[in-house]
């Protein structure tokens, strides 16, 4: 495929959202048109068919993470799951204490839910990760207090792709009798999750990051030992009272199928993605003055976050509009603020501004990666040609020592 025929722009924003796999869409459509019953209608076959499909999907979601289907609660997405777990968990066990531990590089949905709990009289510790994006276990231990009720840490970071040591953090939580919630929205289909072994109490999932539809997610709520949460939405008592509201059957079916495909194809897919990642990494780091954000080993290969020194972020995005990428998290890209995740790693504002998240996935081709490398090389060259900072750097000026006329 040459560049003229290539569908523009090339999609390299899989961490933001994935397309619905055609096989998933195919499974969903009959549940929009034919088996459209309300799964809560227990009185007729339309409702029963819907309920059967919902329960089958629940089994598929459970299988991917080796959980019991009864431990899976449907939600409208990972954001709701995170809210439900953090608020519902810390509220239910508030007699233990009102202190929450999280990390400053968590997704906004986690940070904002923790902030809400602070508003309600809880205290929170936001751990600063190491420069490689990982949490130092000793620092975590030091943050634990007798009144710590809940810890929430994401498995795979959405911006920089690093994988936290969930098992060790979970074990520390168990020793200290702390509820442990894990946001795994970016992890499903990318890393193996075995909830029978992992010491995790609550875990959030999303469909649309794993080739399923938007608007559907799930929360794992452990049964043994049994974890309880306070419902945030009340009503018909769906999902055993933990989450009321009519379930969207077709979306649940889509999530089930997406997770089934992930379970079956993950190993093979990861191998392929890994090769693409290596190719992209090699190509991009050939460019002078580039910095990879996040640990290079403890990471998913689907994500590559790179800062390009001496070029400005927004003009960089403009220059590479033939590839669809994110600068920082999609949820903050509307604002001009530098990514709070990269800031937390200790990156300067300039490097945070000029960071690009390339995220690759199921439909990314080798030729897409090659095109991207060429495009980025060319555009970085052009922007640096324009950049007075690059000129100064090349002339040997120490930019740290320049006195800038602050604007």
């Amino acid at each position: 495929m040459n560049n003229e025929q290539r569908k523009m722009p090339i999609y390299l924003d899989y961490s933001s959202t994935t397309p619905v796999d055609p096989r998933v869409a195919e499974k969903m459509i009959p549940f929009i048109t034919e088996d459209f019953g309300n799964p809560a209608s227990r009185s007729h076959a339309y409702g029963w068919n819907a309920e059967k499909a919902v329960e089958n999907a629940r089994k598929e979601v459970a299988l991917l993470v080796n959980a019991d289907p009864r431990e899976i609660v449907w939600t409208s997405g990972a954001t709701e799951s995170n809210n439900l777990a953090i608020k519902g968990g810390s509220q239910f066990y508030s007699t233990k204490g009102k202190h929450i531990i999280t990390c400053s590089t968590e997704h906004k949905a986690v940070i904002d839910a923790v902030r809400e709990m602070e508003r309600l009289g809880y205290e929170a510790t936001y751990l600063t990760p190491e420069p490689n994006g990982l949490i130092d276990l000793d620092k975590f231990k030091a943050a634990i207090r007798p009144d710590t009720v809940l810890t929430t840490v994401m498995m795979v970071n959405n911006e920089i792709g690093v994988v936290q040591d969930i098992e060790s953090i979970g074990n520390i939580c168990r020793e200290n009798n702390i509820i442990f919630h894990v946001d795994a929205a970016q992890a499903t289909g990318k890393v193996n999750i075995d909830l029978e072994k992992l010491p995790v109490d609550l875990m959030s999932f999303s469909a649309h990051k794993t080739y399923g539809p938007k608007g559907i997610g799930a929360l794992f709520v452990r049964r043994k030992p049994r974890i309880r949460i306070e419902a945030q939405m009340h009503g018909g008592g769906h999902e055993r009272g933990m989450r009321s509201g009519t379930l969207a059957t077709h979306q649940i079916v889509g999530m089930g199928e997406a997770f089934r495909l992930a379970r079956e194809e993950m190993d093979k897919e990861n191998e392929r993605v890994c090769q693409l990642h290596q190719r992209l990494l090699k190509g991009l780091t050939e460019i002078e003055e580039t910095y990879v954000n996040g640990d290079l080993d403890a990471r998913v290969p689907h994500n590559l976050n790179v800062s390009f020194n001496f070029v400005e972020g927004e003009s960089l995005i403009m220059a590479i509009k033939d590839i669809a990428v994110s600068s920082g998290s999609a949820c903050t890209s509307a604002s001009l603020e530098p990514s709070y995740v990269l800031r937390a790693l200790g990156r300067s504002d300039e490097l945070a501004h000029s960071s690009i998240r390339f995220s690759i996935g199921r439909f990314t081709q080798e030729s897409d990666v090659d095109f991207t490398i060429e495009l980025v090389k060319q555009k970085i060259g052009k922007l640096r040609e324009l950049s007075p900072l690059w000129e100064m750097f090349k002339d040997g000026v120490d930019l740290e020592k320049v006195e800038w006329a602050e604007h």
Binding site: S315, P388, A405, H407
Partner: protein
């Protein structure tokens, strides 16, 4: 961010990119902004013995609007006297490029760059 066609044109085909010899007594250099703020503009003007600006060059680290603003002023500067140059207002730049409100500061920066270059030149002439 929706940019006007004029911004896109200057961004895609920036005019007068480059550097002049800053030690030259006939060259004034203005460097404004800061990397931490996301914009640094370097603007240089060279005046003839008759006092007219015969060349202007720029380099800009910044967003598309910042690049376009500095590119545009290098076009405007040529042929002007330095007093006329100092008259260029940010509002004229913003209007010409149809800058959205969040990008007005780019035109302000360009005006500051002109003033800084003119001041540098004047200090050399003293």
């Amino acid at each position: 961010m929706a940019y006007s066609n004029k911004v896109l044109d200057h961004y895609e085909n920036p005019r007068n990119v480059g550097s002049l010899d800053k030690e030259d007594p006939n060259v004034g250099t203005g460097m404004v902004g800061a990397p931490a703020c996301g914009d640094v503009m370097k603007l240089q003007i060279k005046v003839s013995d008759a006092g007219l600006i015969e060349d202007a060059k720029f380099k800009t680290y910044g967003c598309g609007s910042a690049i376009a603003s500095s590119s545009l002023v290098t076009e405007w500067l040529k042929g002007k006297t330095i007093d006329e140059a100092a008259e260029i207002k940010n509002s004229a730049i913003a209007e010409e490029l149809e800058l959205p409100p969040v990008k007005i500061h780019c035109s302000v920066l360009a005006e500051d760059a002109i003033k800084a270059a003119v001041a540098d030149l004047k200090s050399k002439k003293k």
